[in-house]
Amino acid sequence: MAAPRLFRPAARLLPSRLSSTPLLPNFPRVARAPSILCSRGYASEAGAKEVTVRDALNEALAEELEGNEKTFVMGEEVAQYNGAYKVTRGLLDRFGPKRVIDTPITEAGFTGLAVGAALAGLHPICEFMTFNFAMQSIDHIINSAAKTHYMSGGIQPCNITFRGPNGFAAGVAAQHSQDYSAWYGSIPGLKVVAPWSAEDAKGLLKAAIRDPNPVVVLENELLYGQAFPMSEAAQKNDFVLPIGKAKIERQGKDLTIVSLSRCVGQSLNAAAQLKQKYGVEAEVINLRSVKPLDVETIIQSLKKTGRLMCVESGFPMFGVASEILALSMEYGFDYLTAPAVRVTGAEVPTPYAVGLEQMSFPQEDTIVNQAAKLLRL
């Protein structure tokens, strides 16, 4: 397999350990135009409008329900209650009880049922009130959905979307605050996306529903109410983002910050502070997709900046950040000018008291301070 690898995307970045002229860490830095202060370049586009993540998700669901008879939404309180977080607002009225289905509180049961419907050819969208409750049914996501196509030798696909809020939410303590990105991200057969902006939310959810494999869409409760500019292209009903492609939200030359979900916003604010305080240009990568991971974008950026920091809100051990740091060792070691670092959630069941809770998750100043330390500022 060695020869063809050289022509493949990420492998091109793989430095040869046998090279007689090892790549120097101080590789030439490309001079760049000053990064755009506001990283959301699309804001200036004509026709852009402000849309909340909630509405973007709602729009994606409505468009896909409209376009594909095989799709239906199933979950607790998705229909008559209009969604525990109102993401499914109005869908019952528009599509009726056949397509928007309230389930009993029975995660293992309705997840298994949704997977069965997918195996039988439907395209279910299975909502969890939060992914914390999906621990009741993670067996179905992994054993019943993710593994079946492979185990059947390719004859039994499972087109299903699992979605709901994941990770940090304010003041809800340990059983309602966990981030499952690393859990699902480690499973072959699954695809996992984690949107941050409204465009991410719409484009990735639509991509997830259309993807013929089981896809986990990890949303975040605190982002639902946040408004983002949405380009004209993204407002159209054929807007889909590719799964497996990260987005550079902010260009920079001094430091690569890789982040996902809500931490992308925190990282962007931290990057602005770094610029303001130290004149440092941090590049911020919004992963968008946890699995497959866009190794190429991360390593290209790392090659450019020489420094890598990963920011996420999951538990630190064996997490998304751990994986990205490991990849930076494998693909980017020779380009690093400083050890890669990670900013993560703390290794503690999330406490309730606000002061303790703040200490348990990355804050903007945590990111700024860690970046300053990494850059020896």
């Binding site: 309705f110 298994g112 195996l119 039988a120 185990m151 039994q156 013929p212 693909y331």
Partner: protein
């Protein structure tokens, strides 16, 4: 409470074998059938009677005690049961020769359930079962060769050597499933999809064991199936032991057909293929008529151990197994057919000879199938639907990453 403790007391006082099978083995089938009632032609329909003690009901009218059939079908039933028996014996042999890895759960003794169910439904009906699935896979239309090939881990096995004993799929067959109880709600989802499509022609048959019956999500599936009136028959295949734990040691109430509470239930003598077949036909009509889900319990017995690695003798007595062997579904049917003059001893021998040589031949062919080539593209094939794969998948080392 008094009633409950009384019934429990009675139950424990009687050996369960007697409780379940008392008086069942009489040849009551024959009693109502005069020899001249049996037509000469293979395809001429006629009626046979089902033994009166074949069923116990719960909030359900019993199925009719007569079954319309043909000589061809009766012969086919024997043929199919014997094929499963021989295939399982071939698997047993391969296992003992060290050619089968991991799991190998044999259904020897339970053939009447598998065959009766399949003959009571159509190929278009959906079926999902647990891990003791070789026979079911065969009855869903797979070849002996492809099943044994899978057990041997061959590229031409039914799942191309990716699944093994438990994971075999076919059209309208959603597998053997390896997590006990988890496939029961999955089956409810298959029925949900049928209802969603407005399909009233078919039903879903969702088979699980007595061990799985205590899983919480089985009852979650019952609840949703009844709530939404799904076209499904839940089938508890009660072979008296979940691995090595007898039903009495695992279940507070061993009348599994009553455990749906709000689901009408039927307990069926699972050693009598005709009783199973008649019940299945009846159940399918009942569900198709929009009456909602049913809960069936088949009382059967596993002659072999839980899996091939289990001699099956530490948790049950040899006497018990010997006693059960007298109710071997193959001999039960064979005796009936001989009595009716449908199948003479010579014809039985001819069928058995034919099946034996066919299974032996296919076993030999399976044994000679090539194994999957140890290449990265073979290893990583079919994790995702073709055309939607990630750009790369990582092997053991970075050098084994597959693009």
């Amino acid at each position: 409470m008094t009633m409950l403790s009384y019934s429990l007391k009675v139950k424990t006082a009687l050996p369960w074998t007697r409780l379940c099978y008392s008086g069942r083995r009489c040849m009551a089938h024959v009693a109502n059938i005069a020899a001249d009632d049996i037509p000469t032609g293979d395809d001429q329909p006629f009626k046979v009677s089902i033994a009166e003690d074949s069923y116990e009901t719960y909030n359900l009218e019993p199925p009719p005690y007569t079954l319309e059939t043909t000589k061809r079908q009766l012969k086919q039933l024997y043929h199919d049961m014997f094929t499963i028996r021989r295939m399982e014996l071939a698997a047993d042999r391969f296992y003992k020769e060290g050619k089968i890895r991991g799991f190998c759960h044999l259904s020897i003794g339970q053939e009447a359930v598998t065959v009766g169910i399949e003959h009571g439904i159509s190929r278009e009906d959906k079926l999902i079962t647990a891990y003791r699935s070789h026979g079911t896979t065969l009855m869903r239309g797979a070849t002996v060769k492809s099943i044994l090939g899978e057990l041997l881990g061959r590229q031409e096995g039914i799942s191309h050597g990716r699944g093994g004993s438990i994971h075999m799929f076919r059209e309208n067959f959603f597998g053997g499933n390896g997590i006990v109880g988890a496939h029961v709600p999955v089956g409810a989802g298959i029925a949900f999809a049928q209802q969603y499509h407005g399909n009233r022609d078919t039903v879903t048959v969702d088979i699980f064991g007595d061990g799985a019956a205590n899983q919480g999500q089985v009852h979650e599936a019952f609840n949703m199936a009844k709530l939404w009136n799904l076209p499904i028959i839940f089938c508890c295949e009660n072979n008296k032991y979940g691995m090595g734990t007898s039903v009495e040691r695992s279940s507070a109430m061993t009348e599994y057909y009553k455990r749906g509470q709000y689901l009408p239930g039927l307990r069926i003598n699972g050693m009598d293929v005709l009783a199973v077949l008649a019940a299945m036909r009846y159940g399918k009509e009942f569900v198709q008529a929009g009456n909602g889900p049913l809960l069936y319990e088949y009382q059967t017995y596993r002659f072999a151990g839980h899996s091939v690695s289990d001699p099956g003798t530490t948790y049950r007595s040899r006497e018990e197994i010997q006693a059960e062997r007298r109710h071997d579904p193959l001999s039960v049917l064979q005796e009936q057919l001989a009595e009716w003059g449908v199948l003479s001893k010579e014809e039985v021998k001819a069928i058995e000879k034919d099946v034996r040589s066919k299974v032996d031949r296919e076993a030999e062919e399976a044994n000679h199938m090539p194994v999957p080539e140890p290449r990265l593209d073979v290893l990583f094939r079919d994790i995702y639907v073709p055309g939607s794969e990630p750009l790369q998948r990582r092997g053991r080392t970075i050098d084994e990453t597959y693009y």
